[in-house]
Structure formats: structure tokens, C-alpha cells
């Protein structure tokens, strides 16, 4: 009875998660939905998917733009966040510094964007790719710092020092021990930073002033235009990279954590 209940609940949970994804995918294969049909999808049509491969496709450029922005933001935030978090972990002002890292979240990213807008316009960053990356970095980087501060511990610091006394310099302490030992945590943080940057809409829309057309910006645009089929295709593209990263992360992390006594 207990096992049956567990199986049923599993099926329910998976259905709740997987069903919307499948539904959106099916929806993306149709066009010309007409009121009042609720379950009818309209005509089967894969034109939008075919147009995706077109070199002038807005969706394809949006996908690439989102990938570039999210990857750069995540790489910068993770690498700088990891190094900064060690300094904060060892600092006597740890609590004050951590409090300032919560600032963008307490304020909310959109409010932060509104506050920054004037400075971005003055600096010529408004509406540019670099501007959007800088803006995203300002919310993803503190997240990365907060994530890693909890990871640093005396064992890791001591290992770093041990490398020095064994004859390694600062660089080899990082590259040969600290980073390899922390790979599972770094990859998990990278995944989460990527997700934050990938799904960010408000901040990107405000500071990108509609010129930087990332996928989330396009989805909102299609919804505003009452174009659900394009929105469905864009949503499928939106979900694909995080799902792929989740799959890699899960498999890779369980393998690498197996032998880590730092777990």
C-alpha cells in the first residue's frame, strides 16, 4: 500500500513537472488556433521550427544572444565569486560584507535596474550587450558570493596552505587542488548562476531598452502580440539549455562527490 502510494505520488509529481513542457512542445507544432476551441490546437504546422534555422530568424539570434549573455555572466560571476568568497570567509567583517551581498535581492532586480538606469545611460551602456551583461553580473555575482561563502571551510584553507609548503605556488594551489576539489560545488553554482541570468527578464528589458532581444524578452513580446505559437517555440528553446545542464550536472555531480571527503 505504502509502495503504491509512493508510485502514484511519483507519477503525479512527474506529471506536474513534465506535462506543461510536453504541452508547450505540442502547442509549438500547431498554428491557427480559433476561439472557442479549448483543446483543439489548430492546424499542424512546423513552419516556426523550420524558420528557426533561417539565418535571419529572430528566435535563433535571441537564443544565441541569451546563451552568450548567460554564459559570460555565469563564468564571470562564478570565478570572481569563488575568489571573493574566500576573502569574505576569512574577513573579520564577514557579516557586514555578506549583508551588502543581499542588497540586490532585498531591493529586487527590477528596482535595482531602475536605480541604475541613469548611470547606464550616462555611461553609454544602456541598450547594449555589455550593459546587459554588467547589469546581470550585478545580481548574479552577489548570489555566487553568498553561495560559496558557506562552502569555504578550514580544511579547504589548510589544503591550500599545505600545497604551498609542499612546494607549490599560489597559482598551483588553486589550479591543482582548490578548483579540482571544489568542482562539484563550482559546477552547481555555475548552473544556478546560468539559470538566474538565463531567465532574467525585468532587468534585461529595462536596461536593454528593448534593443537586446534575449529569449525571455522575445517571449513577452510574442505574448503581447498574441502570438502563442511563436511564444511556445521560444519557450521550448528557453527550457532546453537548463534541462540539458540539469541532466549533465546531476550525472557528473553524483560521480564527483562519490570520493570527496569534503562532502
Amino acid at each position: 500500500m505504502k509502495v503504491e502510494f509512493r508510485n502514484v505520488s511519483k507519477v503525479l509529481i512527474y506529471s506536474v513537472i513534465v506535462f506543461p513542457i510536453i504541452w508547450i512542445f505540442i502547442f509549438s507544432l500547431f498554428t491557427n488556433w480559433a476561439f472557442p476551441s479549448i483543446f483543439g490546437f489548430g492546424e499542424f504546422n512546423i513552419n516556426i521550427w523550420e524558420r528557426l534555422l533561417d539565418s535571419e530568424s529572430l528566435l535563433l539570434s535571441g537564443l544565441l544572444l541569451s546563451l552568450i549573455i548567460s554564459l559570460i555572466t555565469a563564468i564571470l560571476s562564478v570565478s570572481l565569486g569563488f575568489a571573493t568568497s574566500e576573502v569574505i570567509y576569512k574577513s573579520r567583517y564577514k557579516n557586514t560584507l555578506l549583508l551588502s551581498a543581499y542588497f540586490p535581492y532585498v531591493l529586487s532586480p527590477v528596482v535595482l535596474a531602475l536605480l541604475l538606469q541613469v548611470y547606464f545611460v550616462k555611461a553609454g551602456l544602456s541598450g547594449s550587450l555589455i550593459g546587459v551583461i554588467v547589469a546581470l553580473f550585478m545580481i548574479v555575482y552577489p548570489y555566487s558570493v553568498l553561495f560559496f561563502v558557506g562552502y569555504w571551510n578550514e580544511n579547504l584553507i589548510n589544503m591550500k596552505q599545505l600545497v604551498r609548503t609542499l612546494g607549490g605556488n599560489k597559482f598551483s594551489a588553486w589550479t591543482k587542488v582548490v578548483i579540482p576539489v571544489s568542482k562539484p560545488v563550482i559546477s552547481l553554482c555555475f548552473f544556478q548562476c546560468f539559470i538566474i541570468a538565463w531567465f532574467e527578464f525585468g532587468l534585461t528589458n529595462l536596461l536593454g531598452v528593448g534593443k537586446v532581444k534575449t529569449l525571455p524578452v522575445q517571449i513577452y513580446m510574442y505574448i503581447q502580440e498574441a502570438n502563442p505559437y511563436y511564444a511556445a517555440v521560444a519557450s521550448c528553446l528557453m527550457i532546453a539549455p537548463p534541462l540539458f545542464l540539469l541532466f549533465i550536472n546531476r550525472r557528473w555531480m553524483s560521480e564527483s562527490i562519490k570520493f570527496s571527503p569534503l562532502r
Partner: protein, 240 residues
């Protein structure tokens, strides 16, 4: 010869080490006894170059190493935890210091690591990961890795502190043997009186940031602050 002269260190206004001076002959072990928080670790870290002293200097064979980076001092610091690198196997851990030395060939590195594993009786553990080893085995790998770095001085900060009594005793015997074979110069820090006596050729007592040195057990016994006489009396009473 190691010569430590007038080393002082303050932490937020608290004087942890006060003009510490001592010297240590080559191939000898100085056991430093002291309570937790007495500045033992600080002293070792300063000698290793992991902490900077406020004043004083450290000379090795009359060369001042006080300002040198830790990797240039040839002083290996061993922590209470074995701190084996979890992403590497036992072989990887043993080969680690050898690989930092770019002049050695791959074959040479492999051979040296295998010889050390043989000597430490861990040859059958070479392909295991640190998480699969016992406490004693981990410490053996830790010693092996340190020895392969060819240090001039080995600093041991209560390395057997986390082991059970039986393993601890066997590791003490084991270390004495290795120390003799490899002619190691070392400073052994502990809060365990018996361990300090077993491990050292010379003894020191660190309290309130000051060190007292004793060149023999008799000298140490005379000083009531070390607690050695009390310990001897206790065992005598128990026997009698």
C-alpha cells in the same frame, strides 16, 4: 641548523608569541608541549611562512628565510588532519610534490612514489581514494607525501590527535622509525605529555606565548610547570 630569534606575534592586541627564541640541530626533533590556544600552531605557521611574524627572524643554516614565500622554504607543515587531496588517489597524493618539481621525469616520479608506498606499507592502497583509507593509513600517506617533498624541516602540528589510542601508539613508533631512516629534522607540537616525550630529542614548553627549553628529561622533570613530575608521581602511586 634552524635558529629562531625573538619571534613575536599579536592578534588584535593580544600577544600570542613573546620573543620566542630557540635553535634546533639537524636530524633532531624538538617536542613542544603546551595547552590548546597557547600559540603552538601560530609558531609553526610562522616558521612555515604561512603567517607573518610581527618581529624576529628565522635562520636556516645561517640564511634568513623570514621573508621567503612558503614554497621556497623547504619546510613542510603537517596538520592534525591528514588533508589528503580527495580528488587524487593515494598514488596521486604521493606524486603531488614530485610533480611540482618540473625537472623529474614521469618514470622517476612513478618509481619514487611506489618506493615510498612500499616503505610505508601502503603499496596495496595506491589506487584507492583517501575516503577509502583508515586514519592510520591516511597519516602514512600524509607522511609519505611530505617526505617526497624533500623538506629540510618537518613541522608536525598534533598529527596523531585524531587517532584512537592504539593507532596513535603504532603511528608514534612508525614515525620514529621513518624519522631515523630519513634523517628528518622536525618540530613536533602536542598537548600530550607522553607523546612529547616519545617523539622528541629535545623538549620545549610553550605557555602564555613564552617558550622554555629543556635539553634533557631530567631538566624538564625539575620544572614543575611541565607537569612531568606530577605524572611520574601519579604512576608511582598507582603502582605502589
Amino acid at each position: 641548523m634552524l635558529k629562531v630569534t625573538n619571534i613575536s606575534k599579536n592578534y588584535s592586541g593580544v600577544e600570542v608569541l613573546k620573543n620566542i627564541s630557540f635553535d634546533l640541530q639537524v636530524n633532531k626533533t624538538l617536542s613542544i608541549l603546551g595547552k590548546s590556544g597557547g600559540g603552538k600552531t601560530t609558531l609553526l605557521k610562522i616558521i612555515a611562512g604561512l603567517l607573518r611574524q610581527d618581529s624576529g627572524e628565522i635562520l636556516f643554516d645561517n640564511i634568513n628565510i623570514s621573508e621567503k614565500a612558503p614554497e621556497l622554504r623547504k619546510v613542510v607543515y603537517l596538520y592534525q588532519e591528514p588533508l589528503l587531496f580527495p580528488h587524487l588517489t593515494v598514488r596521486g597524493n604521493l606524486e603531488f610534490p614530485l610533480k611540482l618539481n618540473k625537472t623529474l621525469s614521469k618514470d622517476m616520479i612513478k618509481r619514487k612514489a611506489e618506493e615510498m608506498a612500499e616503505e610505508l606499507s601502503i603499496a596495496d592502497q595506491l589506487d584507492k581514494h583517501p575516503g577509502q583509507l583508515s586514519g592510520g593509513q591516511s597519516q602514512r600517506v600524509n607522511f609519505g607525501r611530505a617526505l617526497l617533498a624533500s623538506p629540510r624541516l618537518l613541522l608536525l602540528d598534533e598529527p596523531f590527535g585524531n587517532l584512537d589510542a592504539q593507532t596513535r601508539a603504532s603511528m608514534q613508533t612508525f614515525y620514529k622509525k621513518v624519522e631515523e631512516e630519513h634523517q628528518i629534522t622536525s618540530i613536533f607540537v602536542t598537548h600530550d605529555l607522553k607523546e612529547a616525550l616519545i617523539m622528541g630529542d629535545r623538549y620545549g614548553f610553550l605557555e602564555n606565548g613564552k617558550i622554555r627549553e629543556y635539553s634533557s628529561l631530567a631538566e624538564m622533570q625539575k620544572d614543575s610547570i611541565t607537569g612531568l613530575q606530577n605524572e611520574i608521581n601519579f604512576w608511582k602511586e598507582l603502582e605502589g
